[in-house]
């Protein structure tokens, strides 16, 4: 997709991160017992950086994103924004924080109010927070925002209701709405997964342009590593499995040199256009395709019942910790920790 950049410009931990999830967990109490949707996740987003969060459904991506947006309070751990815990903020400061982090939902059919025109949707936050003075100025700003998200000519869209637009157009409106208050971080929760493939690419390209032009940080959530590769090449990627981060590092490393067996399996699952390549591909073998229930997590490494590199006595004992396996790249795997990262895949 993009040209492979050999030395990606990744901001490392030396820069001051804008947002940090510090050991956050989210536990839901259900009839089946407590469910750890997210278990002690550590993530950080630097200003203008793209952080991709990849994982299967049920891996806790959205729960982590909702904690980052301040929509739910973590059961334990801290969400730090600009160096302070957001849940210790005063009411007014919390609202400042809230405006700095905007969310683009997965389903553009549910995220826009069906009773409001596009113009009303876009001007409401502008007027409420005095970003512009007066309704005329707000209308002009809405016009600009629609131009930014490639809905041109904007006058065709301003007076429309959401149901008169296509999925891709709605998602662009949702992005424009997220931009109204000049956020520092945009959380894109599977924002392109419900769109048709052809439209998905153009929406991704538009988001990429905004990322480069506006310097907004992105927490980009997807189940599709190909999309993470396309959008987050210059950023970092965290791979989640059953509520835990299993591998974390610069996106090019995660894609080209994954160490955790789960990440490898994900990469190998990406179909190759060339059938010969597919036939000869040395795919990471899985012992099982069944994802364990969050309510009954397997002991030790949660991936061990499916893992091709499972070793009895090692993997089903302790929960593996996320440790550095290469500079800037860490993984939570007993086997990788013992054998080293550069052990070739079986």
């Amino acid at each position: 997709m993009t040209a492979v950049d050999e030395t990606p410009a990744v901001q490392d931990a030396s820069g001051k991160p804008l947002m940090t999830l510090d050991g956050v967990s989210q536990v839901f109490d259900t009839k089946a017992g407590p469910i750890r949707a997210v278990d002690q996740a550590n993530l950080s987003i630097n200003p203008g950086e793209v952080l991709c969060l990849v994982g299967e459904s049920g891996s806790g991506k959205t729960t982590a994103a909702r904690m980052a947006a301040g929509l739910t309070r973590p059961s334990s751990g801290q969400v730090m924004f600009d160096g302070t815990d957001i849940w210790s903020l005063k009411k007014r400061d919390f609202r400042d924080f809230r405006r700095s982090v905007q969310y683009v939902h997965q389903d553009p059919y549910a995220s826009l109010n069906p009773t409001r025109t596009i113009q009303q949707t876009l001007t409401a936050p502008l007027l409420k927070h005095g970003v512009v003075k007066g309704k005329q100025a707000a209308a002009e700003r809405a016009y600009e925002l629609l131009t930014k998200v490639d809905l041109t000519p904007p006058e065709n869209y301003l007076s429309k209701y959401p149901h008169q637009l296509s999925g891709g157009q709605r998602q662009r409106v949702a992005v424009a709405r997220a931009l109204t208050l000049d956020p520092k971080i945009i959380i894109a929760d599977e924002s392109t997964s419900m769109l048709d493939v052809s439209i998905r690419i153009s929406v991704l390209a538009m988001l990429g342009r905004l990322r480069d032009e506006l310097g907004v940080g992105f927490l980009f959530i997807t189940h599709d590593l190909a999309i993470a590769k396309y959008f987050g090449w210059r950023g970092r990627t965290a791979v989640m499995y059953l509520g835990r981060i299993v591998e974390f590092g610069p996106t090019p490393r995660i894609i080209n040199a994954p160490t955790h067996p789960y990440t490898r399996a994900l990469i190998d699952a990406i179909p190759e256009p060339d059938p010969d390549l597919t036939r000869t591909k040395n795919a990471e073998s899985l012992r099982s395709l069944e994802i364990p229930s969050l309510a009954h997590l397997p002991p030790g490494c949660a991936f061990h019942p499916r893992c091709g590199r499972f070793e009895d006595g090692l993997c089903d004992g302790d929960v593996p910790q996320l440790i550095q396996v290469r500079p800037g790249q860490s993984a939570a795997c007993h086997v990788v920790a013992r054998d080293g990262a550069d052990e070739p895949a079986a």
């Binding site: 995220s111 025109t117 009303q120 936050p125 005329q136 869209y157 007076s159 209701y161 008169q164």
Partner: protein
């Protein structure tokens, strides 16, 4: 909700379809024939009963013309047991019934919207307080309470009657609004509004409530019909002061005079019944069109 029209007015500079809002409303009204007929019926009844009394002569009891039947010369709907013209009484007697019906429904609907939506959105003790209060009012049989209150207070002002009827009929709609808001507030566009920090009043009243506008309107119309039923019931039982003349009082007098046993008094007892039925039918039919006006999805079809 009124802000909607204000903002869409400001849009005019940039991109509108050129059709004014009023023309759009008229067009939607005509789309559903039943709704249009209902609208005509209600409009006619309101017009006749509000402007008509200016032109009607004052009527005095006339012993020579007691209980004239339908279509008698000079008395189209006949006369009552005191010889008063029924048609003139009908024209004079609708105003207060319609007024009390609408004001009572407006009061109960406003209370229900405010209490129900805030209870659902804010949750916690607000929710518990509202639900408990609604349950308490709901358990007290309304018509009995109205009867007791009617006996205690002098309910001669229509506004007081409206307050009383409206103040007692909010719980059902409150619980309905609450449950609707409970489901709507989890929708993603509400979450987006919260992330944009639009403020609780705006999120509740501008983002959430318009999505249930047709539901509320439907319930407002049902509220009007219920209020009119309660009111007429009060009059029929003789619990509200029988001074002056309105459709409810006419029914009471016809009933007391034993009009149902007398063929000649058919016009006397049926006229208020038919008028009340027509009004309620018109209101219910009209709701269908209003639903189209308020729901942008239906509007475009």
């Amino acid at each position: 909700m009124a802000t909607d029209t204000v903002t869409s007015g400001a849009v005019a500079a940039i991109g509108t379809t050129g059709v004014s809002r009023f023309a759009g409303i008229l067009r939607s009204l005509r789309r559903s024939p039943a709704g249009f007929i209902g609208f005509i019926i209600v409009a006619l009844l309101v017009l006749i009963t509000s402007i008509g009394p200016i032109f009607t002569p004052t009527i005095e009891p006339n012993i020579k013309e007691i209980l004239l039947p339908f279509g008698s010369p000079g008395h189209l709907l006949g006369t009552d047991n005191e010889g008063k013209d029924v048609l003139i009484q009908m024209i004079d007697g609708g105003r207060s019934v319609i007024f009390i019906g609408f004001v009572a429904a407006a009061i109960s609907t406003a209370l229900a919207i405010a209490l129900g939506s805030l209870a659902a959105y804010l949750g916690g003790w607000v929710d518990s307080a509202v639900v408990t209060a609604a349950d308490v009012v709901l358990t007290v049989p309304q018509i009995v309470l109205l009867a007791v209150l009617g006996a205690l207070f002098k309910l001669d002002s229509p506004l007081l009657l409206a307050l009383l009827v409206g103040g007692l009929s909010w719980p059902v709609l409150t619980r309905a609004v609450r449950s609707q808001v409970l489901s709507l507030k989890e929708r993603e566009f509400v979450e987006a509004a919260r992330l944009l920090d639009l403020g609780t009043p705006r999120v509740v009243f501008v983002e959430i409530l318009p999505n249930m506008a047709s539901f509320i309107l439907m319930n407002f119309m049902i509220g009007v019909t219920n209020a009119i039923y309660s009111l007429v019931g009060l009059y029929l039982l003789g619990l509200a002061p029988l001074t002056g003349s309105n459709w409810g009082i006419m029914l009471n007098r016809a009933w007391i005079a034993g009009a149902i046993f007398n063929d000649a008094s058919l016009g006397f007892i049926l006229s208020p019944v038919v008028a009340i039925t027509l009004l309620l039918l018109g209101l219910v039919m009209m709701t269908r069109s209003l639903e189209e006006i308020l729901n942008p999805r239906l509007r475009d079809r």
